[in-house]
Amino acid sequence: MKYIVAIIRPHKLEDVKKELLKEEVHLMTITEVLGCGRQQGITEVYRGVKEVDNLLRKVKLEIAVNDSFVERTVDAIMRSSREGEIGDGKIFILDLEECIRIRTGERGGEAIG
């Protein structure tokens, strides 16, 4: 089991969701986050005072999948969120030790899908 974390551009979320559905990945957790990478932030100005902030709004997707789903999930995210410019985001893949469905008490691979 793997835990896939993807940081993407906010306006790409709808596309990513659509592509994931095509790959039968239905379960995900989404949060709005601020972050900085190599992309530069946008300077804001309030009453003439500049606020240089390198934090940008991004969306974080967290998806727990069985091993056989990892590549399809990553592919779906890649093809739907890539613009080919700095700021497209990153994908992290972590080992997932255990997964438990609260309602039934099922564990492991069965509980994920």
Binding site: H11, V33, L34, I42, E44, V45, R57
Partner: protein, 409 residues
Amino acid sequence: MDKIIAADVAWMLCASALVLMMTPALAFFYGGLVRRKNVLSIMMQCYVIMCAVGLMWILVGYSMAFGPDRYGVIGSMDWIFLRGVSIVPDSFYGTSIPHLLFMAFQMMFAIITPALMVGAFAERIRFSSFLFFIILWSLFIYNPVAHWVWANGGWLSKDGALDFAGGTVIHVNAGIAALVVSILLGKRDGLVFPKSPHNLPFAVFGAGFLFFGWFGFNAGSALGANGAAVVAFVTTAIASASAGLVWMFLDWFFNEVPTMLGVATGIVAGLVAITPAAGFVSPVAAIIIGAIGSLIGFFFVTKVKPFFGYDDSLDVFGVHGMCGIWGAIATGIFASKAYGSGSGLIDGNPIQVWIQCKAVIITILYSGIGTALLYFIADFIFGMRVSLREEHVGLDLTQHHESGYTLME
């Protein structure tokens, strides 16, 4: 010389302020309906119109719209910089209030009309070209149409067209222009329709204050504290009540549940529909005008727009354009001598319906073609649309370097 009546002055001062308040109300109504990243841009557009168009009105606008008539088409330049517009009442416009007050009241109308259009090009227009375009539009579309319908000697008013508070001049005019701009500007990128509003309570607040301000808009158009003002006040309240309820039931029937945004939209649709008829019709007619207005608005917003796929982002055409057209025609049907100074179909004067239709058609043609021309000029000089990247990041950050909401302290 006519005598100034204190009661009229008091009421018209209040009414003018009420109408001005509708523009900030609109900023909230629209602001709540757009996505979070564009909330300030749309509020900014409304507020800048208050400043820019307000000033243009003083410089040349008032003279173009209401100045001494030239061939029934346009006002002369005799009153630019408000030359000769003083505290002495004019002999034609609001004979019991200072001429300056009449000018101020009309200024608020000149402001809200282009502000209504903002909803059609929300979330994708470049601010600089917006400003240029809106000033041209106010000068060359709003002012002439206002002259035709309201000014002493305007050719549509000589033709007998009835427009109590601006159904054709304001709502049809802005609604058609909105449709034209939204088509020329194109759809927003990658938007899944319908897009949920980012802050519905803002929209509800805005609609409520539009309702409140509209009493100044309609009842103020009587230009005095008199019977016509009372008729307009009552019909305004009734039409929007009936329209809000009808929209709610339509929602309930077609979309399974009654919705808050539905009621708010219905109320606005009713207000638009009653505007041209406000001081001319009976309270019962107001119920019908509001109800049918809601029906038409609902049909255009939920069926026609998705069918054709134009991106009239906040339904300016569906609500203001279509309900304005209905209201203008309804005035020709329901105007009654018992309540106001015009008579329509129910008074045995069917020709009034045709006169109203003519005024609507002429407004549609002039506004449609004129707006398209101005759009091409502004687009050629500045480029009307922001880049795709700017659209994705949002207009707040890219056009104004501000954001409406912080994510963290």
